[in-house]
Amino acid sequence: MKIVMAVIKPFKLEEVRDALTALGVHGLTVTEVKGYGRQKGHTEIYRGAEYAVSFLPKLKIEVAVPSDLVSQVIDAITAAARTGQIGDGKIFVTSLEKAVRIRTGETDSDAL
């Protein structure tokens, strides 16, 4: 099992969700985050005070999937979240040791 974590542009969430649903991935966690990479921030000016805002709002999605589905999930997210502009985000994959569905006590692949 793997955790696929992707940081994406906020307006791409619905497209990514649709792409993952089409793959049979049911359920993902979304967090509003801020960060910076190659994309430049912007300047905000309030009366005399100028602030360089370098941390931009993004969405972080996390989805737990069976290992054999990882490359399809990555492809799906890449295709759905891509605009071609700087700031499209990144995908990280990590191993997942254990999963439990709290309601039933099912574990691992049964719990995904």
Binding site: I45, Y46, R47, G48, A49, Y51, V53
Partner: protein
């Protein structure tokens, strides 16, 4: 208000010999008539100025601070309003609007003959600008109460986000007593020093705006910068609320300026129109200068400009013509823009919500500008033999005296406050935010 005098201040009553029917002192001449229309207008004007303070000013300021300090600003404005309204009826009205006796003391401060509103009844009256026309004294003193309340409330913007609540309360009580009441007496009471000089201040440019602006600057300097000033993001947490507050300020200001006419006449209508066009011009002026300098026209910019225009037209509201008011507004918007951007950054003081940059600087522009735009040759209401040069000089003298009085007075009173309550919260409390540290609650619980 220049020509205002209060009947009960005259004659026997001021000496405490007749605490009833103040009109009797003069009724050998002609008993002043009280007009129901004037009375209604003054009552509405007093209510408008309250709207301007709570919630107008509170929201204008509150939107400009960070989320963690929102309630502290709302609370300070509300508490200052409440405290000063009580002090006003206890002794403030008496110190401002009764005779302080012959000589230097009486030119600076009134007496205690109307402490606790002694002798003021529903039948007592206060003079207006028109001979023989009066308004109920309760209407006059309630209207004046709202001015005394908003002035210290304006100051809290300068040291927002780091001052102790107890310090705000103590400083306010001291400051209205030793700074506001004397200056109101000097400018608006017939025996006051600046009134005697012939200084023009229709609705409180010196008394309210220069006064609070300079006190705010002193406070910002003495209390020091906020932690992280110039480094951390201190963006306004809700310009939406600031917009709502700015609009309420503008609406309330009609009571402030047109109400200062004391009668529902053409003079009030002139002041009302000036209170529309001057801030409109100032908002546009700020917007244009900002767009040329920074590339974008901001909502906070146009709203700040409009407030600067409201400040600047205050002393001239019933004295300038509409075209003169527009010029005054255009100048005030641009000058205040440079004050809060270039000057503040160059000098490095942390006047958090620009009380000095807008009220102090705008007030000075307005007070001196009043000497110009009141000239009949420029559409003002000055007398035919009006001398611009002479009047501008008197205005400058009035400004300098106000600057000195409030500047020195505020330094002393902040020192005293600092010794009794301390001025600043601890660094941990400041980082946590004044809402939790001082008031034990949060503005937003999502």
């Amino acid at each position: 208000m220049k020509f205002r005098s209060i009947l009960p201040a005259l004659g026997a009553l001021a000496l405490g010999l007749a605490a009833f029917e103040p009109a009797l002192a003069q009724d050998a001449a002609a008993a002043p008539t009280v007009n129901k229309g004037d009375t209604a207008w003054m009552l509405i004007s007093a209510i408008l100025v309250i709207l301007m303070t709570i919630p107008g000013l509170a929201l204008f300021y509150g939107g400009l601070v960070r989320t963690k300090n929102m309630l502290s600003v709302l609370m300070q404005v509300f508490a200052v309003f409440s405290l000063v309204s009580i002090l006003w009826v206890f002794y403030g009205y008496s110190l401002a609007f009764t005779s302080g006796g012959e000589g230097a003391l009486g030119a600076v401060i009134g007496g205690f003959s109307k402490a606790f509103l002694a002798g003021v009844t529903a039948d007592s009256t206060a003079d207006t600008f028109t001979s023989g026309v009066a308004i109920p004294e309760f209407a006059f003193l309630s209207f004046q109460l709202t001015f005394a309340c908003i002035t210290p409330a304006l100051i809290v913007g300068a040291f927002a986000e780091r001052i102790k609540f107890s310090a705000v309360m103590l400083f306010t009580a001291l400051w209205v007593t030793f700074v506001y009441f004397p200056i109101a007496h000097m400018v608006w009471f017939s025996e006051g020093y600046l009134f005697g000089l012939g200084a023009l201040d229709f609705a409180g440019g010196t008394v309210v705006h220069i006064n609070s602006g300079v006190a705010g600057l002193v406070g910002a300097l003495m209390i020091g910068k906020r932690i992280g000033y110039g480094r951390d993001l201190m963006a306004p947490h809700s310009l939406t609320l600031t917009f709502v507050g700015a609009c309420m300020l503008w609406i309330g200001w009609f009571g402030f300026n047109a109400g200062s006419n004391l009668e529902a006449t053409g003079g009030a209508a002139l002041a009302l129109l000036n209170t529309i066009v001057a801030p409109a011009a100032a908002g546009l002026s700020w917007m244009v200068v900002e767009a040329m300098g920074k590339g974008k026209a901001s909502l906070l910019g146009i709203a700040s400009g409009a407030v600067a225009g409201l400040v600047a037209i205050t002393p001239a509201a019933g004295l300038a013509g509409p075209m003169g008011s527009i010029v005054l507004g255009l100048v005030a918007g641009a000058v205040c823009y440079f004050a809060v951007t270039a000057v503040k950054n160059a000098l490095g003081y942390d006047d958090a919500l620009d009380v000095f940059g807008i009220h102090g600087v705008g007030g000075i522009v307005g007070a001196i500008g009043t000497g110009i735009v009141a000239a009949p040759s420029l559409g003002g209401t000055g007398a035919a033999d009006y001398s611009i040069g002479g009047q501008v000089w008197i205005q400058i003298v009035a400004v300098v005296i106000t600057l000195a009085w409030t500047g020195i007075g505020s330094v002393i009173l902040f020192k005293i406050t600092g010794m009794i309550t301390g001025l600043r919260v601890t660094p941990d409390q400041e980082r946590e935010g004044l809402d939790l540290a001082d008031h034990g609650e949060r503005a937003y619980n999502y």
